[in-house]
């Protein structure tokens, strides 16, 4: 229960932060909420479920009688929280191997988390996959399900998020059934290098195991595999034992989700790279890494890989000592050099050079373009013919009641400030959310200066 209480206070902290948000007109609200926790703090030993929070009590109507302000404030607060999270320097350069174990037993049909435990955990699992690879670009993931008393492989250990997402999606429609088996799930082995972790989403209050799970726990400890569990129902003794024993006596990795949002937070918290136990690794450092090329054994011959001593045809030669490794990322068994695929690193580079936001284009400047620079979708014509400026403004005055929302361009055009090309809203979204390139800057370097840093990228750390 200690866990839950801790979480409850954490929730308070975020509330306080929220009340400090600039421009929020919710001071009465935050004050009244701030009182609550203090009271409960005095009472001390109360369990989490005794503190009944009614979410509808917390919402206070704005002065105009609507909830818009509250909702906006919440959204803002969430964004801010994300922003704060992003600035902490994380150690992304470590290789994690993580197995996500999802409960797919009868217990997951419960509807205490909406729409159902199963659907929610599947949705969050997809989110987990995305977030995990964002945070740990050179790490690997596997997904395993527990149903019918056995462990089913949902997706194998790999570093490709799309593969995992597709495989998870295939299981969403499958009705959860049978009993879960912790032991069977844990017996599936993980590779022998890097940090190894198991994350279990556990809805059931029992586990049907073929043997003694304590043996399994012992072998986990021996293999230095860390287990963390997010429970959906209530605390289970064996789960607690499992977590504390595999984490060196620290049972903070076992937690129970109180509600949907809490479940999400708990699960996504695992995506943050773990604290390494050695001092040397936790400092920022310059790591030497090799980017080996994939080669095939010549002719019909088969080579043994240096890492597993298995015969393979394809492999990667260490760039320093030439040992052949069968899969990446790995540490060279010969010289200890970290070997990775450069493409794994490249996946996170758009964080380093974020694309500058594009600006709205007023009618007066809209004449320069007839269609989106990248997708060639035609733009609406400039009203009032070619004589731009005055008329454009006049048009704007004609319909003041439909004044555009903030951030919405009146001419349907958005311009990159660097290359001054015009784009449509679809391309704006696509470029900023998926592509992270400015099509205009990329496709015309004639005007740009000679250094390579175009791409409309923001200046980092001026």
């Amino acid at each position: 229960m200690a866990d839950s209480d801790g979480e409850y206070h954490a929730g308070d902290a975020s509330d306080d932060e929220f009340s400090g948000a600039p421009g929020s007109q919710l001071e009465t609200r935050s004050r009244s909420r701030a009182d609550g926790p203090k009271k409960s703090g005095r009472k001390g030993g109360r369990a989490a479920w005794e503190d009944i929070q009614r979410s509808w009590d917390a919402v206070v109507e704005g002065a105009d009688g609507t909830l818009a302000g509250t909702i906006e404030g919440l959204a803002e607060a969430e964004k801010r929280a994300r922003l704060l999270k992003d600035t902490t320097p994380l150690q992304r350069g470590i290789i994690r191997h993580l197995v996500l174990v999802l409960d797919m037993s009868f217990a997951m049909t419960e509807k205490d988390l909406l729409p159902s435990r199963h659907e929610l955990s599947m949705a969050y699992a997809s989110e987990f996959v995305r977030e995990y690879f964002e945070q740990n670009p050179i790490s690997q993931l596997a997904v395993i399900g527990m149903r019918d008393g056995v462990a089913v492989r949902i997706s194998d250990m790999s570093g490709n998020p799309t593969e995992h997402l597709e495989k998870i999606q295939e299981w969403v429609k499958q009705e959860p059934q049978g009993s879960p088996s912790l032991q069977n799930a844990l017996e599936i082995h993980t590779p022998t290098h890097g940090t190894r972790e198991v994350v279990i989403v556990y809805g059931a209050l029992m586990s049907s195991d073929p043997g003694d799970i304590h043996d399994t726990i012992q072998s986990l400890i021996k293999d230095r595999i860390r287990v963390s569990i997010v429970g959906l129902a209530a605390q289970v003794a064996i789960c607690e034992e499992l977590c504390s024993k595999t984490n060196g006596g620290d049972n903070s990795s076992y937690s129970i989700a109180l509600h949907e949002q809490h479940f999400r937070d708990l699960l996504l918290a695992v995506t943050t790279p773990p604290v390494t136990r050695t001092q040397e690794q936790s400092n920022a450092s310059l790591l030497m890494m090799g980017f080996p090329s994939r080669t095939l054994a010549a002719g019909d011959s088969i080579n043994y890989c240096a890492c597993h001593n298995r015969p393979t045809r394809e492999g990667y030669g260490c760039t320093r000592c030439g040992s052949r490794v069968c899969r990446l990322p790995a540490e060279c068994p010969g010289c200890g050099l970290t070997l990775i695929l450069s493409t794994h690193l490249a996946r996170s580079y758009h964080h380093l050079f974020p694309l500058r936001n594009w600006v709205e284009v007023p009618w007066s400047e809209a004449r320069r373009s007839k269609a989106c620079c990248s997708c060639l979708a035609p733009f609406p014509d400039v009203p009032g013919g070619a004589k731009g400026k005055g008329k454009g403004k006049g048009k704007g005055k004609e319909k003041p009641d439909r004044l555009p929302l903030k951030g919405l361009s009146e001419s349907g055009r958005y311009a990159c400030e660097v290359c001054r090309s015009h784009f449509c809203i679809d391309c704006d979204l696509f470029a900023h959310e998926v592509l992270h390139n400015c099509p205009g800057c990329q496709s015309d370097t004639r005007g740009a200066q000679q250094n390579g840093d175009i791409n409309g990228a923001m200046e980092i750390d001026p």
């Binding site: 659907e119 450092s285 310059l286 090329s293 320093r320 000592c321 997708c375 015309d444």
Partner: protein, 369 residues
Amino acid sequence: MNHIDASEHYDESAFTGQTPSLLTIIIDTNPRAWAALNDTLPISKAIANILVFVNAHLAFGNDNQVAVLAAHTNRAVWLYPKSPNPDSVAGPDSQDVEMTGVDGRPSHPELGTSANKYPQFAQIETSILTSLRSLIDNTTTFDLKPTTLISGALTIALSYIHKTSLAFEPSKTSKDPANPTTAPSATLAAPTLHARILVLSVSDSEPAQYIPTMNAVFAASHARIHLDTISLHGMPTFLQQAAFITGGTFLSAASNPRGLLSFLMFGFLADAEARRSLITPTQDSVDFRAACFCHRNVVDTGFVCSICLSIFCEVPENAECLTCGTKLALGSYGAKPAVIPRKKKKKKRINGINGREETGSATGTPVPA
């Protein structure tokens, strides 16, 4: 209604036939490289081959579409469909006048002459040829650089594909249970448009374009767009990686550029759906070297900042990361090879008392991992 009038027999889902396929071709038009290829495969011949390939693609299905881009030395230009925008380089003011001049001309001058040609084929051919002609005419000697703006062409092609697939997509409804905050899972639904990109490459990859190219490649892999490359000249390292990441095909026709059409027809004509039942040409080796951030060198062993994962070819000045500014500790770069002590051990054991059985295990018999 369907139950009453039995119109379920005419349920269209069974008859929709094939999914439309959008082929985007990026032609590398680097003048130097084509000059080098001129003896074996002049660009006119290459374009003729590509047009045959384009026609074959269009003939495969009624809904198939094609888009063609040119990646030039310093810009990426639409060849088909044509961009209605004025070219912005000569200054925006003078350009508007010119623009009307261009518009005043009949847009398909040669269309009428080819009565025996399927109009769509003729239209594409005319558009590509005229755009390419004007691109070549506008190229000055100042523009003659050895590299090509592949990243820009990829970026534009992806935006275009994105927009086109939006048009094919059914109206978006939030399918994601209980969580509107997650990214829309539309990409996971059955694709309504098969898109792929084919790059006809004749030049080396430009290390300065490493990051934008990789951004584009991951966007393509995110949208499950295959990035195919046929290389006639040079060594496009990044495009090779791109093909590997996106599950596309990389073929090098450098040994025999004259066979371009055969390469195109046999290697690249099948769309994503057909490829599932075909065995596509595989790459036996992939060059995975990366470009460093400091000198734009292509390296196979580099230093990586543990915070932001920037790659450097040498230890940066003051051991400070050039990208994120973090003070970095220099690790011991595995300076001690793990091999030597083991060898000594082995020798000892061989010379030791009980020879064979022990040596067998001491050399590190495979232990299942």
